[in-house]
Symmetry: D3
Subunit: 241 residues, 6 copies
């Protein structure tokens, strides 16, 4: 099981946008961390949690079209009943949206188990009910077909591909209305700290721009504007880092 | 003209989700019945009706870019003026979204004729007005170009492809917020019956899961849970099937 | 800088739908004027303005991953600080949605400068904040990565491709909930005039169809219906053209 | 059955390249006549014949996965046994290459019946044997699966889409190493005549360019070069048109 | 390590085409066994062997762009040095062709170790040299970039997806000029037997068709033709099955 | 005009494969330098030259479908008549293969002017004749339609995108049977030197592997093997670098 995120780190990661987090990872040379084409089912969704991975391969008729499912051995079902507080189920569905990868009953069960969310590069089925379940959920599409029409759950808690991004078990996922960013576990604390600071600076810059400032010298900020920013921080009682 | 759906069958098909209907068809070996990538224009849309098909091929400039349309011979126009109560116009646009396939005036006319909806694997044009027309409408995209920019209406009431699924005239289409499932006409009654039962069982399972039950022994239900389900049904005064 | 649109022309272009404008251009032989797959960030968006173009090419690591940006030479930044009232920034991102092409601070700055909107065939980053900025904005997707992850701003105010359509600096862009149409500058006045008339005629036709008329003889209108239309116009005090 | 092409017209159409024929059609306003992405199985293939069309829709398991085929009713089989000298079987497979559309035995049978070729926007199966059959064959891909895995033969001799181009029964198909162009039947004679002339002119231009001439005044030819061309024609004993 | 294929089974599998093998699997209900879009590098390639699987996920810059590779831990390298006689390395590259998945030195090494071939749903790099290595090789494309530009070798000998088909370690792969079919290990013997018989029948049918027979009653063969076939078999001294 | 490549640099760049050159650029952090999906028209093609760029945007009917072309102003034609010895015409066609980008007469003219080759991320038309022209030529596809059916030549000698890679005028292009790599001009000399050395080392490694060596300690080479390599070099009279 992935180790849960410390509560203060989770709280810190709820503040910045995925755009800010993605930029900070890019500064560290990690330029492929945002899941392309994966969107929240419900506007206003916010997600923070650790990755619990599930890998699908294509279905084979003799294994997958039998109409039976064994909750004790099927990796999808084992994942659902293994997941704990703060876990995010991340599904590698090879981007194939010709069937769902998970439906509303399993989403509800995960929510009861304390899961933080579910992310797939395929589709959800019964997606209106998944949306209504209250579990933060991100996908590329909706499709009514059951997963085994196209997919075979192959294994869990291995490194996977999701929407073109590598996801390792325990990685931190943060989602907002734009989508989902994957933060390597060992970088999460420093990325969070830097992101909070970056958001503050961008809030200051945005204030200036809204007030009519040119971006020249302001975005990115020059020395004069950075000095002004430090004053602004002090006035607000915040600690510059 | 396709034979209308008996009112009680239509009513029964309004209850289950497309996810349930798609699963029941898969149990009968029909695994490719849900239109991939086709979404409702308006959230909350619900559609039940029989397929009236219209087939487009690519436009040819000397036939289609003349600026004239003959309502008495153009298959699109003939379809609109032929359609009757409960019919769903299903358009095979080869998935090509570089032009609309139908606009708001024709959607309105179909609504006046009692049509149950319109489904295309291409785009609508004037799609905000199509959405406002009140006719249940599903498409892959929106595009302002008139259909003959890209499409040529070739014939109607023939078997077609729509979003990767075979649609035969008279097939039953059922749509919800997830999308549209195509039910072969001769299976509609038994699928509807089974779907109503399946929905009831899933409602029971969902209740248990929401209350904290594990999925083990519950989804799919084991003998004990099925017994509990039968009691639950009796308490609600419903007839188990 | 593109010449601003005369106020009465801008006002006239706010009336018709992009579907109507696209049809009128098609009648003049211009059949590829609507941006395929580009949608408004906010429902109800309406856009009218002249094109200020910006061209991206793929990033090269030694030029674009340096972490610095020079507001005085970077074409994206120069564009933002050059744009004036009524201008629409139109970005050629080669349809590549693996990074954003512009974010909320620059959108806000453009709004302060009087820009009429921003259109990209790529993605916005920080798209929820771009949506909230009040600037009419159209894109194919959302992506949190900064533009230089994938894109290099190459030049501005040159003819570009956007979503498969040619856009020349100064062309008129009109957007509604369906998307964006590009009107060659020299045709804008006559297209606007014809569109206003066409909208009026279609309003009349729609009224008849809503009241139960067949489309035969009505859409397109025959002589009798055109006569009726002229009377209808007179009753409303409008001038037929 | 489509009427055969007169032998002298067929002979004339064997001379020009598909590039020349496509250009001549474009001059008449027909700009979408060449099958995108459809290539010959064998280098050096040359094809001239009239279209005999076959339309596929997606398979449905209860109709298509039965393992039986009735040569007397299955449109694919009826087509093969209907085809006559000079006919080209043109298959609308919706561009779906996840199964073959026809294999080597049927290709061989068509060759025995005098068919001029076979063209599909899907795949052939047993494509090495199709290539070896001697029948001119064009496709987008090769795939070993039998057609009914994915396709259902729906009807024949109706207008179809093939690789994005409209094909009407009886249209003339001409193929070379580049691919296949579709010539509307009623234009074939005049297109052939113009193409022969155009090829002669381009041969002359190519000779000049090979000899070191600039393209200025030569391609397209100015008055001086056209005069030179007429002399060149006379020297070769050819009749200028 | 997968168990090698018995020599007589391997020999039997060299006879039939992938088209025949794919059809026989489809009769058993396995309809998705042929790798779509994967072609031999060298015409005339023939492949028979057992699957040794290798799974790639997307690269992450801190793990994969270091310029070092450890032959003792990198799954790609471990695979190459583990592979034995008759093994086919099958690579799951998520269909991503923006980098190679293996080059000429590793292909040569595998050939020296007795490998039967290599199959990828991505690209080879140094593909002209891979082609020249003599190892049967199939891919979707060629790309000069080293694998870690885009890919990270994640694990080996697990079930994978390759070109849309499930491949389990030990499955039998058979390739010809058309491409590659995956035969579940436990079905290989009976599929081979049936395929040999099917090829014989089709050879007989092809002979008849080449001689001018109609397909009616012949393909599929009716009772009379089957009797004729049995005689033909006896004349050739073959045992009917 | 781009400055020609010094003859000894051009000679050095003819030795290594594009795979080697792409790897050396990746070591310098440039990981996106190989044109994905662009293949030589003729097996055995080899290309070295400096980039002369040409940019296409989508055609607009009033500008591009007129049937006339002005050799003195049309950027495509100006490019052809400007190109000099060692230049490679590189065309940005937005990857759109629905028309050709250049045909055989212009290819022949460029060859007469001393051009080193032509590369497009679209298609050639009259591609069999382009192949026969002797000019090294690379493309994604073949299409018979003339360029202005889909494309408008917009400008030349500006930075462009080609097959997902940035190409600046004067960059060095090297092509082999695998495809084409783009080398930034200022890196060409050092990349060439390193590539020659790398090829020598890989030739040595390949020799060892062909002779039965494991890759462990050999590829990448350990200290012992590097020492062996230095001896091998001396025996061959080559200078180690």
């Amino acid at each position: 099981m992935p180790e849960p995120i410390p509560p203060d780190l989770a709280a810190a990661l709820r503040v910045p946008s995925t755009a800010t987090l993605t930029s900070i990872l890019a500064r560290r040379g990690l330029r492929n961390t945002f899941l392309t084409g994966v969107r929240p089912l419900v506007p206003g969704t916010r997600l923070v949690g650790q990755a619990f991975t599930l890998r699908y391969i294509p279905a084979r008729e003799d294994l997958d079209h039998t109409g039976t499912v064994d909750n004790l051995t099927d990796p999808q079902r084992v994942a659902v009943e293994s997941i704990g507080p703060g876990d995010v189920l991340v599904i590698d569905a090879r981007g194939d949206v010709r069937a769902g990868t998970l439906g509303a009953i399993l989403a509800t069960r995960m929510r009861c188990r304390g899961a933080a969310g579910v992310v797939t590069d395929g589709a959800f089925r019964d997606s209106p009910a998944v949306a209504a379940s209250g579990l933060p959920a991100y996908a590329r599409a909706a499709h009514a077909a059951a997963n085994k029409t196209v997919h075979h759950p192959a294994d869990l808690q291995v490194p996977i591909a999701c929407a073109g991004v590598a996801v390792y078990p325990g990685d931190i996922l943060v989602g907002d209305d734009e989508g989902v960013v994957v933060i390597p576990r060992h970088l999460a604390a420093e990325v969070a700290a830097e992101a909070v600071e970056q958001e503050r600076l961008e809030e200051f810059i945005m204030e200036k721009v809204r007030a009519g400032a040119s971006i020249v010298g302001v975005y990115p900020p020059g020395e004069a504007v950075l000095a002004e920013y430090r004053e602004w921080l002090q006035r607000r009682g915040a600690q510059p880092t």
